[in-house]
């Protein structure tokens, strides 16, 4: 039974090597099923810091204010301050970053979040907590616009969409550094 296949072995081996160098090899086990673009799109809701993944649609500060009052205020407080699920609004004098020294200072979108895309991504996937995934893309754009406006990062006439959301620089953008703990004798 083996003999008839012998003639294929050498060419196959060469082919595999060639294939490897181009395309990282073949599936080893041949498990799993091929997926349609529509199936991927249904789950692929993440937004990257450079804006990749932002969907079509747009929203204004005024529209966001309305959605906020209706769907968010009961947990995050009037104007984004003081709700039982955490304040979303608050800038610090001179955009200081005193969190390590003062446990009393609340982290907010305005004083702590490094990227606008994270606001869009998180609200779209997880909020409102009592009905996650229920907002339209336009509503999410509006909410991000309103939250940035309330944090004094954009003006009241702002309209956000995939064209401009990722370009907005957050006050805490440069505060984040890689983990320098490495084990060993030094406590960091």
């Amino acid at each position: 039974m083996i003999r008839p296949y012998l003639q294929y072995l050498l060419p196959l081996a060469l082919l595999t090597v060639a294939h490897n160098s181009v395309a990282q090899g073949k599936a080893e086990f041949g498990l799993g099923r091929v997926v349609s673009e529509a199936e991927i799109a249904a789950w692929d809701i993440d937004v990257m810091p450079d804006g990749r993944g932002l969907p079509p649609g747009s929203g204004t500060v005024a529209e966001g204010a309305e959605v906020y009052a209706q769907s968010c205020e009961q947990c995050h407080g009037a104007g984004g301050v003081g709700g039982h699920s955490g304040s979303l609004v608050g800038r610090l004098e001179g955009d200081q970053f005193p969190f390590a020294n003062d446990p009393g200072i609340k982290k907010t979108i305005g004083n702590y979040w490094p990227y606008t895309t994270t606001i869009f991504d998180y609200i779209r996937r997880a909020m409102p907590a009592d009905a996650p995934g229920s907002l339209s893309n336009g509503e999410v754009y509006g909410l991000v616009a309103w939250l940035l406006y309330r944090n004094e990062i954009v003006s009241s006439d702002t309209t956000l969409s995939a064209d401009n959301l990722a370009e907005i620089r957050m006050p805490a953008r440069d505060r984040f550094v890689p983990d320098d703990r490495r084990g060993g004798a030094v406590v960091r």
């Binding site: 990282q24 086990f29 498990l31 099923r33 199936e39 005193p98 003062d102 406590v187």
Partner: protein
């Protein structure tokens, strides 16, 4: 508990209001009513009346069953506090946490998932975008590994004296996990050149996401479907979770449904707004994912009462960077230290049991433990941590040496450090 010391005839007299009861056997409820302490523990075991034999050698025992139960008097419990529940460290022995006592942390509750419908999508910078069913995943070569899983927010800061190990730091547990190596799945889909990060996403209502560097994914990451020999529990991510040994628990995404391969990190909310550590120099440490070495004495601790004489100090030590190489124990509030016995095999990134004999002379004393791992890292004091991190760098990655005080009465108390 006291049952073995109670003479059966005496109890019978006490319970003689029920003449139909056979000698040496009583309905548990009646024993309870009679005021004898005998069946106190058995009472809680079952709601059905249970026949308790006072001398178990004189009557046949219970039959086999489809599913076992804990002994009636042994009811260790998690402490559920809404979004977290804590493992009863002080009630456990060895290093494996029973699956139903594994700590929990959910961001939007425990989803109900139909395993037959659940699939894992791997896409992005790959040669072959594929969805794997649970059955597919079980056909891949399987890997089993024992390691700890700890929430990075695992310290009750400024806890009162009346604090158990469970309340203090019960957000760590250990299991034997089984699944498929993530590196195997990545070879199956074929990762394209230039790929640096993965996004792992859950199918809970938080649609939880974390970015994972591809080096970790290829090193020791697992996609697991079993815990301690059975399917993982719903609260641990049934039917599928990511498992990143040694890393903060949040990165081991539960109810895993999607992995996207990309050229940069995704900067999700859980690695920006949360799970980052502000430092006194006005920066914040990001992707601080490895759990540094830590130990905790589990017994004797609050609320135990100890008696003069022989004790065994017992505890757990672990490090996200590899093996524990030494645990030191102090019985004089940290003035002097002696190496404890480590119970082997000492596994990397795993809870390791340590023990130390202690003859307590009845004087006020304070016991402490400190772990050392294979990188030479020595578990710091709270003071050391506060000095480098600042009092506001809470709640993540706080692993201070913790102390327990014994009063002359034999009462044990937590001796906490002020976190300010």
């Amino acid at each position: 508990m006291a049952g073995k010391d109670v003479d059966s005839t005496e109890v019978l007299k006490a319970g003689s209001a029920a003449p139909s009861i056979k000698r040496r056997e009583l309905v548990a409820g009646l024993v309870g009513l009679s005021g004898a302490a005998v069946a106190g523990s058995a009472l809680s075991a079952s709601t059905a009346p249970q026949r308790i034999s006072l001398d178990p050698t004189r009557a046949p025992g219970a039959s086999t069953s489809a599913l076992g139960n804990r002994a009636g008097g042994e009811q260790p419990k998690r402490i559920p506090l809404g979004i977290i529940s804590l493992t009863p460290l002080q009630d456990l022995h060895g290093t494996i946490t029973p699956a139903d006592l594994h700590f929990e942390r959910h961001h939007a509750g425990i989803p109900a998932i139909e395993a037959a419908q659940h699939e894992l999508l791997i896409h992005g910078m790959v040669e072959r975008t594929l969805k794997f069913s649970l059955a597919d995943l079980k056909r891949f070569p399987s890997v089993t590994r024992t390691c700890f899983l700890e929430c990075s927010g695992n310290l009750f800061t400024n806890a009162p004296e009346q604090t158990t190990p469970q309340m203090l730091c019960g957000l760590t547990s250990q299991s034997e996990w089984t699944g498929v190596a993530l590196s195997t799945l990545l070879r199956e889909v074929g990762v394209r050149p230039g790929a640096k990060w993965l996004l792992a996403e859950g199918s809970d209502a938080a649609v939880m996401t974390r970015s994972i560097p591809i080096e970790k994914a290829r090193d020791d990451a697992l996609v697991v479907y079993a815990q301690n020999g059975e399917a993982i529990r719903p609260e641990q991510g049934y039917p599928l979770r990511l498992l990143l040994p040694g890393w903060e628990g949040n990165t081991s995404i539960k109810w895993l449904r999607r992995i996207e391969v990309a050229d940069q990190s995704f900067m999700t909310r859980e690695e920006t707004s949360k799970y980052t550590d502000p430092l006194p120099d006005g920066t914040a440490r990001q992707f601080s994912v490895v759990m540094d070495a830590r130990s905790v004495i589990t017994t004797p601790t609050y609320p135990q009462h100890i008696e003069k004489g022989w004790q065994e100090i017992r505890g757990l030590a672990w490090s996200g960077r590899g093996r524990i190489t030494q645990v030191d124990v102090s019985i004089d509030a940290g003035r002097s230290w002696q190496p404890a016995v480590l119970q082997g095999p000492v596994l990397p990134k795993a809870h390791t049991r340590f023990t130390q004999p202690w003859h307590w002379d009845g004087q006020e004393a304070e016991i402490q433990s400190r772990a050392i791992d294979e990188t030479g890292y020595v578990q710091p004091t709270a003071k050391q941590l506060l000095a480098v991190r600042g009092p506001g760098s809470v709640p993540y990655h706080l692993n201070p040496i913790t102390a327990w005080r014994v009063a002359p009465s034999g009462e044990m108390f937590y001796r906490g450090d002020a976190w300010e």
